[in-house]
Symmetry: C2
Subunit: 430 residues, 2 copies
C-alpha cells in the first residue's frame, strides 16, 4: 500500500520535498498550489522593475515535477485540514493523506490597515510585480504629460515602506533606473530628479544584517538618490502619499515591503501559532502530536536551533523541504528522526549595479565583489538551465547597454467593450 504524501504549496519547501520523493514506487505524492508555477522569489523585484520577464523566474510546477510517475500536481485552494481523519479540504474536494507537508508561505500584512493595500501594493507574486511595474511606469508617463509642477513632483516621488532586502532592492532599482536609464527617454522631465524614500520603523534598514553592512547599504542607496528614513513608522497611507507621525510625503506611488503574516490556516487547523500566524513546530518540523504533519518555509516557526525563529529566507525553506523529504523516507525505513539543523548559507542583498552586501558568518564584504557573488549564487539556484541561460543573457545585455528590460505597462483589464472609459491598449479608440 503506497504512502500518500500531500504537499500544500509549491515554493522552495514544497518543491524540494517533492523532488526528494520523486520517482519512488512506494510513495504517491500530490502537490496542491493555488498558482500553477514555482516562483523564484528572490528575483521577483526584478520583474517588478522590468529587468526580467515573468517567464524568467517562474516555471509551471508541472514542467518541473509532473514528469515523475508518482507525482500529481493540482491547482487548487486548500480550505482546511482535519488532522484526525487526515483529510485536506480543498475547493475541488477532499484529499486524504498519510503524510502532510504544509508550506504556504506568507502574505503582506498591513498591521490591521488592509485598506492601505490599494494604495501600497506588496510584492509576493507575479500579479503584484506586474501591478508595481505598471504603477511606477505610469507615474513617469503622468509626470511627462503634466504641466503642473507640484503634480509632477508628486508623480516623481516613490515611497517604499519597509527597509528589508525587498524594500532595499526595490528602492535601489528605482534609483538606478531613474538615474541611468530613464533619463534618456523623457523630454519634459528629468528622471534624475526622482525622489525615492525608504521608510523603516526600526532604527536601521536591513536589520537581519550586521549594523556595519546596513550602514554601508544606506550609503550606497544614498548614492542612487534614495533617502533612508529610519525610526519612521507609517501612520497612514492614502492615494496621495504617506503620513509618518507629524511628517508627510506626497507621493503618487507607494510600495509595501514591511510586515508579513502567515496563512491563517494554522489557526483554522487548531494549531499553536506565533504573533505572525506561523505554526510552532517540533525539532523535526512536525506539529505537536502529529508526526505525520510537517510545516516548512516561511509558515513554520522553528526556534529549536537559535532560540528565535529561523528567518523567512529561501535557503531556510529549501533546506527544510529537503529535510522533510528525507525524514519521510527515513520513516519508511524505520529510522529514528534526526532534528532539523539549518546550515547557515549567509545572506546577501543587492542595491544596484556593482553594489551589494554579503554576510556569511564572520565574513562580510560589499561592493562589486559582493555584487558578483550575488549574481553567481542567484544564477546557480535558478530552477532550470533555460532560466539560467536567459537570465544571465539579459543581465549581461542590460549591464553593458545600461538599459533595463521592457518597461511595459500592461493593464489589468483586458476587456474593451462595455466600458465608457476603456483602459485597454487600443490606440486612440475611446
Amino acid at each position: 500500500m503506497k504512502k500518500r504524501v500531500v504537499i500544500v504549496g509549491g515554493g522552495f519547501t514544497g518543491f524540494n520535498t517533492a523532488k526528494v520523493l520523486s520517482n519512488r514506487k512506494d510513495i504517491e505524492v500530490t502537490l496542491i498550489d493555488r498558482k500553477n508555477y514555482h516562483l523564484f522569489q528572490p528575483l521577483l523585484y526584478q520583474v517588478a522593475m522590468a529587468a526580467l520577464g515573468e517567464g524568467d523566474i517562474a516555471t509551471p510546477l508541472r514542467n518541473m515535477l509532473a514528469g515523475n510517475d508518482n507525482m500529481t500536481v493540482l491547482k487548487g485552494i486548500v480550505r482546511n485540514v482535519n488532522l484526525e481523519s487526515k483529510t485536506v479540504h480543498t475547493d475541488f474536494g477532499d484529499v486524504e493523506y498519510d503524510y502532510l507537508v504544509m508550506a504556504c508561505g506568507v502574505q503582506h500584512h498591513y498591521f490591521g490597515n488592509n485598506q492601505w493595500e490599494e494604495f501600497a501594493p506588496g510584492l509576493k507574486n507575479l500579479a503584484q510585480a506586474t501591478e508595481i511595474r505598471r504603477r511606477v511606469m505610469e507615474a513617469y508617463e503622468a509626470a511627462e504629460r503634466t504641466h503642473d509642477l507640484i503634480e509632477r513632483k508628486k508623480q516623481l516621488t516613490f515611497v517604499i515602506v519597509g527597509g528589508g532586502p525587498t524594500g532595499v532592492e526595490l528602492a535601489g532599482s528605482i534609483g538606478e533606473m531613474s538615474r541611468f536609464t530613464l533619463s534618456k527617454f523623457y523630454r519634459h522631465i528629468d528622471p534624475k530628479l526622482t525622489r525615492i524614500f525608504i521608510v523603516e520603523a526600526a532604527d536601521r534598514i536591513l536589520g537581519g544584517f550586521c549594523p556595519e553592512l546596513s550602514s554601508r547599504a544606506t550609503r550606497e542607496l544614498e548614492k542612487l538618490g534614495v533617502q533612508v528614513w529610519t525610526s519612521s513608522a507609517v501612520s497612514n497611507v492614502d492615494a496621495d502619499g504617506v503620513q509618518i507621525g507629524k511628517e508627510r510625503i506626497e507621493a503618487a506611488t507607494v510600495l509595501w515591503a514591511a510586515g508579513v503574516q502567515a496563512s491563517d490556516i494554522g489557526k483554522r487547523m487548531g494549531l499553536e501559532t506565533d504573533r505572525t500566524g506561523r505554526i510552532v513546530v517540533e525539532p523535526d518540523l512536525s506539529v505537536p502530536g502529529h508526526p505525520e504533519v510537517f510545516i516548512g518555509g516561511d509558515q513554520a516557526c522553528f526556534t529549536h536551533q537559535t532560540g528565535s525563529p529561523l528567518p523567512g529566507m529561501a535557503p531556510v525553506a529549501l533546506q527544510e523541504g529537503r529535510y522533510i523529504g528525507r525524514t519521510i523516507l527515513g520513516d519508511l525505513k524505520g529510522q529514528v528522526r534526526k532534528q532539523f539543523k539549518y546550515r547557515d548559507k549567509g545572506q546577501m542583498a543587492t542595491i544596484g549595479r556593482n553594489k551589494a552586501i554579503v554576510e556569511f558568518k564572520n565574513i562580510r564584504f560589499d561592493g562589486a565583489l559582493a555584487w558578483l557573488t550575488w549574481i553567481v549564487v542567484h544564477i546557480y539556484y535558478l530552477s532550470t538551465y533555460r532560466h539560467r541561460v536567459f537570465v544571465l543573457a539579459q543581465w549581461g545585455w542590460s549591464y553593458f547597454t545600461f538599459g533595463f528590460g521592457a518597461r511595459l505597462i500592461v493593464n489589468k483589464d483586458w476587456r474593451f467593450y462595455g466600458k465608457e472609459e476603456s483602459n485597454e491598449d487600443d490606440g486612440c479608440r475611446k
Copy 2:
C-alpha cells in the same frame, strides 16, 4: 517656425512615420498612444500561447523614439479632433498640429453582440494575450482536477471563432502544444484528446490566400487535431460554448479571431468611413479637403490601387507610415505629392512546427521551407536587435526541446485583502 506633426497611435504606421521624421530640426513630432509600447502584432499569438514573453514582442515607444531631439512621446487617450482649428482633444488637454497622422488600428468586433466578449476574448493587445493564456492553461488544470468526464471533455475543448491568420495560428499552437508538449505533464488527462475547432463563416479559411494554400493549411491543421468548420456562422456564444445555427459545441474556452472594426473616431471627426469604420482616404492617404491630415494602417480605407481596400497587414501599415513621413518632408521641400503605392510583400501564415504557407505574387509554397521563410522574415522585421536575439534564442530552444515557454497563469487581480475568495497566487491561504 517648426512644423508641428502630431501622430496618434504607435503601431507600424505611426512608428514608421515618426522614424522618417526623426532628428529633423524643422519638425516637432508628438506621438500619442494609449499604451506605452510598440507591439509587434504578428507574433502576439505566441505570447498568448506562452511561446514568447511580453517583452519579446513589445518595446516602450520611448526607447525607440524619445532619444530624438524633435520627438515627444505621450501616453494618453485622444477623444476627438477639430479639423478646422487643427486641434487634437486628449484626456490631458488639447494639442495643436500642422500635420496630423492618425493610425489607431482596429479592435475586435462582435457583430453587435458585445456581450460575447466576456466568453470569447479577442487578441489585439498584451492584456488580452495574457488573458487568453490564462484561460487556456486554466482549462487544462480544471480538466486534471475534475472526475466528471463530461466536464473534463468540455474543459478540453477549444473553439476559435474566425479562420483568418490569427485564428489559424492560435488553433495550430493549441494543437501542437496539446499533442507534443502538455501530454508529458498531466497524469489524469491525456492532452492529446484535446478537441480544437476553427469556426469560420466563409466557405474556406484564410480567405486572403489562394484556395489551394488554404486547403493545404486545412490539411496541416487536421494533422494537429484541429477540426475546421467552414460555412459556419456563430449564432451565439455563452459561458459553456458556442451555438452555430442548429449545431452546438460545448467548450470551456472560446477565442475570438473574427470581425474587426476601426475606431469610431473617424465618425466623430465627421469623416466618411466604410462599413467597418475605416476612414476613406485620398490617393495620398490624406482625408478629403484636408491634405494636412493623414490616415494610415488598419484604420485607413485605401481603394485607389486595387479597387478594394488594402488588407490590414503589417507590411501595408509599415509602408504607409514611411510614405506619410516622406510626403510630409516632400511638402516642406515644396514637392508635388506622389500617390501611395503598396509594394506587395506577399503574405504568410504559420500553422505549427515546420508548417506554414507563403504566397508571394504567383510563388506559392508550404511546409518546412515556408516555415523557415516565416521565421526569417519575422526575425528580420522585429524592432530591435535585442528582440531578434532573444526571440530567435527562445524559438531555437523550444524547437529542439519540443517545449514551449513558461505557461504561467497570472491572475488579473493582484489584491489579496478584502476578498473572501482571493484569486491571488498565495499558496493555500484562504
